[in-house]
Structures are given as structure tokens and as C-alpha cells.
Symmetry: C2
């Protein structure tokens, strides 16, 4: 723990030379939250003190920006997801592959690890679960839009169960990574193989 982490005087802190500016401090704080959670700390166990110490900022810097720990964790989870992926919008297959690949970047893998570490909390804490769903929802909606577009253009079947198909496209990647099943379903070509399996179906034509 350094001198900064024990400072509680916001004004003084801002003036001190060599200290991170707001955006950098925010990033360091959010990063510290994610690091603590993926180290195995439960949401309940994460403390503002520990976050401040790990980020190298004073507690006041955190409290100036976030009213409480729950809001801080929500922002950390949101920040990690990054921007929504851009889609070519030509072929449904290509767009679905792009969406699944966006869930398998190193950043996404880290997100998956944090989600896995938050699962015991997500099960118990309704507020946290709602927050997590709010983070996921815009991405799920992008996938739904691709599927609906496919139905509209006639590429996909008219009676497609859009919600179940979205789950079939997102769940395998999460479970493969969380349960470490790469020895069964390798990372190589994962997105293409999954999308093709979902599109073509299993029955013999």
C-alpha cells in the first residue's frame, strides 16, 4: 500500500504531481476491481480499501466517482465488455461468426473469467444479477437482430426460435471456457464450427 491509498483529501490528491489523472485513475480502479474478482474474491469480499490499494489511489477518489461498491462492480463489468462489435451486415453466417469471435478475444476471456468468479454472487444477489443482465442485454439484442434479419431475408427458417438460437450460439463458448473443455472442443475454428452446426442442424438431409 502506498501513500496515495491512505489519502482521503480529494483536493490535495488532485494537485499532487505524478498522480494519475481522472481517466487513468478510473481505469486503474476498474481494473483493480476485475483483478480482485478474478483472483477469486467474492463481490461481498471485495472492499473499497482493497480496490484503492490495488489501484494505487485514495479511497476518496473512488467514493467521489461511485456511490457504493455495487455501482463500482457494475461499472467494472460494463467497462470490460468494451464496444459492441461492428458487423458487415451481408451474410448471417459471417455476422454470427463475428459475434462469437468477439466473445472469444483475450478481453472476452477475461470477462468470462470474471463472470465465472462472480457466479456465486450472481446466484444469490438479485441486484447484481439484474446489473449483469443489463450489461449482456445489448449484445444479446445484436445477435437477435442478426437472426431476425436472416428470417426476414429468408436465409433462416420462418419459424426460428430466435431466443433459443441466441442461447445455442452464446452458451457453448462460455461453458467451453468456464469448464475448460478445450481438450474436447478445441479453440481452433470454434466460431465457424458452432455457427455451421447451428445453421445446418444435425438431422441428415
Amino acid at each position: 500500500m502506498n501513500a496515495m491509498s491512505t489519502s482521503t483529501d480529494a483536493g490535495q490528491e488532485r494537485k499532487a504531481p505524478g498522480r494519475p489523472r481522472n481517466a487513468q485513475a478510473d481505469e486503474a480502479i476498474l481494473d483493480a476491481v476485475l483483478a480482485l474478482i478474478s483472483d477469486g474474491q467474492s463481490a461481498a469480499a471485495v472492499s473499497i480499501e482493497a480496490v484503492a490499494a490495488r489501484a494505487g489511489v485514495g479511497k476518496a477518489t473512488i467514493y467521489r466517482r461511485w456511490p457504493n461498491k455495487e455501482a463500482l462492480i457494475a461499472d467494472a463489468v460494463r467497462a470490460m465488455k468494451g464496444p459492441l462489435p461492428e458487423l458487415a451486415g451481408q451474410s448471417v453466417r459471417e455476422d454470427l461468426i463475428a459475434l462469437i469471435q468477439a466473445n472469444r478475444t483475450p478481453r472476452a476471456q477475461r470477462y468470462g473469467k470474471v463472470t465465472a468468479c462472480l457466479l456465486p454472487d450472481l446466484i444469490k444477489d438479485d441486484e447484481l444479477a439484474r446489473m449483469h443482465q443489463a450489461v449482456i442485454e445489448p449484445r444479446r439484442e445484436v445477435m437477435r437482430e442478426v437472426l431476425r434479419r436472416g428470417v426476414a431475408t429468408g436465409e433462416l427458417r420462418a419459424d426460428l426460435d430466435v431466443e433459443m438460437t441466441a442461447l445455442m450460439l452464446s452458451a457453448p463458448s462460455m461453458i467451453q471456457s468456464m469448464l475448460r473443455l478445450q481438450h474436447l472442443v478445441p479453440d481452433e475454428g470454434f466460431a465457424e464450427k458452432l455457427v455451421d452446426a447451428v445453421l445446418r442442424g444435425a438431422v441428415a438431409s
Copy 2:
């Protein structure tokens, strides 16, 4: 905590009247492990003391049967999975639905909750992860066998990606339950809808 939980004399304990016999004690012990984990205790935080207290047995009763905590947790996870489901062996569709429904019983839901609570440990602890995979593997093999049988009979496509299809059939149920997505994909008819989506595929025929 009762008197039993502090007893360390195995012989004395066995003779005492009114104490559970071995099978009952075993069940109480395994149940206590699962209860502690689904209450949100990490595998690291679960102690033999806490298990003994919750099960109402002495620590010696636990140590007589399990060499260490890891072996105890492994047995608890294994015990919860219960017997492999029996399959009619007629139609691939019916057997797959039966397998998915077997993953959605109240017992299976509890297993899913324990797995979710163990995920932070499964990610960090290679030994625990291997143990968990060993518990899952016989069930995964049953699903593979159904799929391979379908390929052999010509019901399923000859170039089926068996491993990916098994993941597509098992992962959605886990994620729907872990992330509490019942408002998006309801429990009602889940197994049938998933199996039909996997079998028929998404592309318009």
C-alpha cells in the same frame, strides 16, 4: 455446533446410541459439503470443522472415510450427480430430450448451483477441475453414444461434429440456469425446443 462435532474419538462415537449409522452419516456429510458450497463458500474456505458441525458428526467420522478435503468435495459432487439416466434407445430425438431433462431435475438444478459456486475454484484449481471433468465425462459419453448411434442409423448427418453438438445440447441449459435467463428462454418445453433446434438447424430448407 453440538457435542458430536467436537468429538475426535472414533470408537466412542460409533458406540454412542442415536447417532447416525455409516451410510446415514456419509449422506449427511456429503450433503453438508454441498450446502456449504451452495451457500457461497469457496472450496478453499470449506473446512472439515464446518462440514462436521453442519452434518452433526465428529471430525473423526469424516477423516475415517476421506483422506482430505479435496477427496470429500470430489465425492460430494459425484454423489449429487446420481445414476446415469436410462434411455429408451428408440429415437435419437427422444433420447436427447430425456438426457437434457435429466439435467433439469431439482437434483440437477442443485448440482448446477454447486457447480456455479465452485467455478471460481474450478478455474484456479487444476486438480478440482480434473475431478469435475471426471464426474461429467460418463454423462457426456452417454450423449455422444446417442449422437453416434444417430449417425450410424442415418438419422443424423454423416459429417456431424459430435463433440460440438454435445456441447450445444448441454451448455444452453447450464447457462440459462446459472445466468437466470428464464425470462428469455422459459423452462416450459426447454428440452424439446432445444433438441428440435439442434436437430433441424436454423437455415431455411
